[in-house]
Symmetry: C2
Subunit: 105 residues, 2 copies
């Protein structure tokens, strides 16, 4: 369970440039060293949600000898949302660190 931070991770995966759903899943898996091996049923709905929210835009692409893909890009709103999510994550993780560490610190 990613517990609400999935959106930030997906946005971060698109920061380097547009990508399609399947590739996003692979990127996340590699970046997290296998920790986040997300099922499609998690990622696709998330992409739709983020597009609905205006943080992503999508376009169908068909490479010369390949299959139809839906390629997502960060919108401006998405890029700034990513910034906020990163900050929110920083605050959140620090607060949890403190709350958990209190016993030993």
């Amino acid at each position: 369970m990613l517990k609400g931070h999935l959106d930030a991770i997906v946005l971060a995966a698109l920061e380097a440039g547009p990508a399609h759903g399947y590739a996003i899943i692979e990127t996340i898996k590699q970046r997290s060293a296998g920790t986040f091996d997300l099922p499609e049923g998690t990622v696709y709905p998330a992409l739709h949600r983020l597009e609905q929210a205006g943080l992503l835009s999508s376009a169908w692409m068909t490479p010369p000898n390949g299959r139809r893909r839906r390629v997502y890009s960060l919108t401006k709103a998405g890029a700034s949302a990513l910034g906020e999510r990163r900050k929110a994550w920083g605050r959140f993780s620090q607060a949890v660190d403190t709350a958990l560490g209190g016993g030993r610190a």
Copy 2:
């Protein structure tokens, strides 16, 4: 939203010694510098859940000139669960850091 890490935080709040629900809420609020100001409707069900799971035990106490309180203590299972949760949090937060930081690092 605490997104699944609430249990760990509650267990950690009881690590220093037994406490009752209201006090636990206060402890968490102070430890997190106000970030986690949890409503009772969040904490009480969590306490019941943790007791059901055998990680906490509870007893009714009535101080000489005070009100009836339900005091929770960490069980052995609870203490070891806390250890695991802490480790899990460490792994999780590191993975998120990596996944989020990948774009800029």
